[in-house]
């Protein structure tokens, strides 16, 4: 009976229902539903200008959330990413002001980001130190180092060609939005279809079982951190090029917003579960909520509280789901 009871994908209405209540679908519904609801209250919210500002200003968070999701799925966490983005943006901007070729200013944050993150991954994997401790140390080093080196000065006089964010793909899709979508889809494809992507889920889901299956846990962790560094590099580039100046300090609470996006996007804080698409959608939703607060005359300071509430709700739901699974 068992082989016969295996249903074809899509034929079963329960599967359709299941797909509809997936975290991604819920987030997509929330993003659209919120836009409509706030639009009724204040039609200016739906102006193209505002919606594109929301996306443009927050695409870098969504890109960073892609890498963060991978790290959390592997059973780790990174709280240094906000500081790293600040450092990488400064590195890139300084190179640009010093007249380095534009391609170098764009590639430098990717390379440096991968190196810094791979180093952290190696410390976590080979010295077996919890990621939260390693990345807490790196957070302080990067933050302190940056402010000491630059004095918090603003980087101005950036060459026009540096502004990646000004480029529009096919004359209509702004580069940051394009990169956000590209990053999410490439990463999603890779997580879903590559053997290495599967290894990340396995290590995060049950490190011991993965090891017995011949999957190297340390190598997987170093890889996941390096990839995360790559996405942090792209995020830094978008962050650096969105305005005409770069403030050479670390954007406050950036890592928390990125982690929030990953967790609200359905990535289990216990590892092994989640998708990068969910995280991207969650990043968009959080940005949208922040903007909605302004348009509904609520103090924008509430955004932190809203983020906090979202985190608690999703984590509690995740834990309850796991309990149910363990009881079954």
């Amino acid at each position: 009976m068992t082989a016969a009871s295996l249903t074809r994908a899509g034929a079963d209405p329960r599967r359709l229902l299941k797909a509809l209540v997936s975290q991604e679908a819920l987030l997509a519904i929330a993003v659209i539903g919120l836009a409509i609801a706030v639009g009724f209250y204040n039609p200016r919210f739906l102006a193209t200008r505002n919606l594109s500002d929301v996306l443009l200003g927050n695409a870098y968070i969504a890109v960073a959330a892609v890498g963060m999701s991978m790290v959390i799925i592997s059973g780790n966490i990174d709280i240094s990413v906000g500081s790293l983005i600040g450092v990488l943006a400064t590195v890139s901007g300084t190179l640009a002001v010093d007249g380095a070729p534009i391609i170098v200013t764009w590639l430098a944050p990717l390379v440096v980001g991968m190196l810094v993150m791979a180093l952290q991954g190696a410390i976590v994997a080979y010295l077996r130190i919890p990621a939260i401790v390693v990345t807490l140390g790196m957070l302080s080093i990067l933050k302190g180092g940056l402010i000491s080196a630059t004095g918090g000065k603003w980087i101005t006089d950036l060459p026009d060609s540096f502004h990646l964010a000004d480029i529009e793909i096919f004359g209509l899709l702004p580069m940051p939005v394009f990169l956000m979508i590209l990053a999410a889809f490439l990463a999603a494809f890779w997580m879903r279809y590559s053997a290495s992507g599967r290894a990340i889920y396995a290590v995060g889901g049950n490190a011991e079982a993965a090891r017995l299956c011949g999957i190297s846990q340390p190598r997987t962790i170093v890889m996941v951190f390096a990839l995360h560094g790559f996405f942090a590099g792209i995020a830094a580039l978008l962050y650096a090029t969105q305005l005409r100046v770069i403030q050479s300090t670390v954007p406050p609470n950036l890592e928390l917003t990125i982690i929030t996006a990953a967790v609200v996007g359905g990535v289990s804080i216990l590892g092994g579960v989640g998708t990068v698409i969910g995280s991207t959608l969650a990043a968009v939703l959080i940005a949208e909520i922040a903007s909605a607060l302004v348009f509904t005359d609520v103090s924008p300071y509430w955004i932190r509280a809203v983020q906090g509430a979202l985190i608690l709700i999703t984590v509690i739901a995740d834990i309850l789901r796991r309990r149910r699974m363990a009881g079954a």
């Binding site: 068992t2 082989a3 009871s5 295996l6 249903t7 994908a9 079963d12 599967r15 279809y193 590559s194 053997a195 290495s196 599967r198 290894a199 889920y201 396995a202 889901g205 049950n206 011991e208 079982a209 993965a210 090891r211 017995l212 299956c213 011949g214 999957i215 190297s216 289990s268 092994g272 579960v273 796991r322 699974m325 363990a326 079954a328």
Partner: protein
């Protein structure tokens, strides 16, 4: 099932502790079914039984970890309600578990008085009194090499155990339960422990002593109670019994509906191990497993069987000795390497070692064979689905679909996935560690049938099992491990519950001559 043979052989007028008709069930398991026994003042009463006989459940009820479903515990003639560990403490019952529950950063005195430290007004701790009382306790047991101010983390295992005993005495415990107290002790420490137990006995403390080592029971206990499958089998005065009888009482179980292994032609050696070393639990192991053969590895928990399997599989690589796979000497340093050599290992604890619970059935099936279904680093979904569907069919896994989350399936179905995932890799040697623990009878029979089929296809199987009927029913040959060594080998014909059981327990008469 209960044979109330001479339960009350010389039970004193009023026992210090009595348990009456204790029953306890867990989902799917009847852990205790009507167990009764008494312990007198100043008596050392041994509890004996195989793994899963119900000893742990019994002591957990008596120490208030969980309540029984039915039955009562009577201390000094009064029925007590042991809902929490604290209730047991107040009733004068203290338990020393195998894993010592001490705070390594704190001193001996602090550990002894953790939770009931003497106070010196205004809630302050009276450090002086704490130290003085600890010294008194030490002196009363004539322990002269242990100091109240030493940090527990720096002590030997034997001394840590003495701290636990002091802790029990500091709470005026009248009933002391010791769960395999000698499992980690050196011979010298065992002698010291017995010395202390005799002193406690002289003071009228009742000791419930759990051990697998028969010689210890004969050395220290007054009476012994044997449990089997959750039932009380017998209580005997140690002076009136002997090792062979106790083994018989422990293992004398009828062999239930099993799929006995079919005789198939035995082929060339697949695994040859010679003088394999990996301290502390693999000491000079030599064994051979041939194609088509199932070799059963019997032994008690802690005898080093799983450790041996993990050394062969490269989880804890060998420190010495030789492993040959199909005649070629190999040096296995990692599970990935073992897998490449055609070894599969289905671990004992499928929850923590075998299954990735949040993953789907499909993903679990392909996990050990990713190299086979991935082309250029990317997974061929069609090939993966086919692999998983084949596995589901072959192992009759009851799942609603391949996309079912594996953690939501029943234990038996989870075990089938863990087994099936390894066979997707077409191994030559299969190491099974407790393949049917904790799964229902039906699933068990299916797994036994599959093992027989796999052997018939020429797979070499090394099976670790703590269930003697399973070992006897499935194995072509039985090896017995004890304390990190193989101490006996039996052919299928010679292996019986008594002979294998005796070798496991180390009752010398049978084991040595067989080895």
């Amino acid at each position: 099932m209960t044979m109330a043979t001479d339960t009350h052989s010389e039970t004193p007028a009023l026992p210090l502790l009595s348990v009456r008709a204790l029953e306890k069930s867990f989902p799917g398991v009847r852990a205790l079914s009507g167990v009764s026994f008494d312990v007198a003042r100043g008596e050392v009463h041994a509890l004996l039984g195989e793994n899963g006989a119900g000893k742990s459940t019994l002591i957990k009820i008596v120490s208030g970890v969980f309540p029984p479903d039915r039955g009562e515990v009577i201390v000094d003639g009064t029925s007590v309600n042991l809902a929490r560990p604290d209730d047991a403490r107040r009733a004068g019952i203290a338990t020393i578990y195998q894993e010592l529950l001490l705070f390594p950063e704190l001193t001996v005195a602090e550990n002894v008085f953790m939770g009931h430290a003497p106070r010196a007004g205004a809630g302050r701790l009276d450090w002086r009194a704490m130290r003085d009382k600890t010294k008194e306790l030490l002196a009363s047991l004539e322990i002269h090499d242990l100091y109240a101010d030493r940090v527990v983390g720096s002590l030997s295992v034997g001394n840590r155990q003495r701290v636990e005993i002091l802790r029990a005495l500091s709470q005026d415990a009248r009933i002391l339960i010791m769960d395999e107290p000698t499992a980690a002790l050196t011979e010298y420490d065992v002698t010291r422990l017995f010395d202390i137990v005799r002193r406690l006995k002289a003071r009228g403390v009742a000791v419930i002593y759990i051990s697998h080592r028969l010689d210890e029971i004969f050395a220290i206990a007054d009476r012994v109670t044997v449990l089997r499958d959750g039932a009380h089998i017998a209580t005997k005065r140690v002076a009136d019994t002997e090792a062979a009888e106790l083994v018989q009482l422990m293992v004398g179980r009828k062999i239930e509906s099993l799929f006995p292994k079919i005789a198939v032609p035995i082929g060339e050696p697949v695994l040859e191990v010679k003088d394999l070393e990996r301290r502390p639990l693999t000491k000079g192991i030599s064994l051979t497993v041939r194609a088509g053969e199932i070799v059963g590895l019997a032994g008690l928990v802690g005898s080093g069987r799983s450790e041996l399997a993990q050394t062969i599989f490269g989880v804890t690589p060998a420190e010495g000795g030789e492993i040959k796979i199909r005649g070629h000497a190999v040096d296995i340093r990692s599970p990935a390497q073992a897998r490449a050599l055609g070894i599969a290992y289905v671990p004992e604890d499928r929850g923590t070692q075998g299954l990735v619970r949040p993953m789907t059935v499909r993903e679990n099936f392909s996990l050990a064979a990713l190299g086979k279904v991935a082309v250029g680093g990317f997974i061929d979904r069609a090939a993966e689905r086919k692999l998983a569907a084949d596995g589901v069919k072959r192992f009759a896994v009851k799942t609603s679909s391949l996309e079912q989350i594996a953690g939501k399936l029943s234990g038996g179905n989870q075990q089938k996935i863990v087994l099936g995932k390894w066979l997707a890799n077409q191994p030559k040697l299969l190491i099974l560690d407790e393949p049917t623990r904790g799964i229902d009878v039906g699933a068990k029979a299916e797994i036994h049938r599959l093992m027989g089929e796999l052997a018939a296809q020429g797979l070499a199987i090394l099976m670790i099992s703590s269930e003697l009927p399973e070992v006897l029913g499935m194995s072509d040959r039985v090896l017995v491990m004890r304390e990190g060594r193989i101490v006996a080998e039996f052919s299928r014909e010679d292996a019986s519950q008594e002979s294998v059981g005796a070798a496991m327990m180390g009752s010398h008469d049978n084991a040595e001559k067989a080895a």
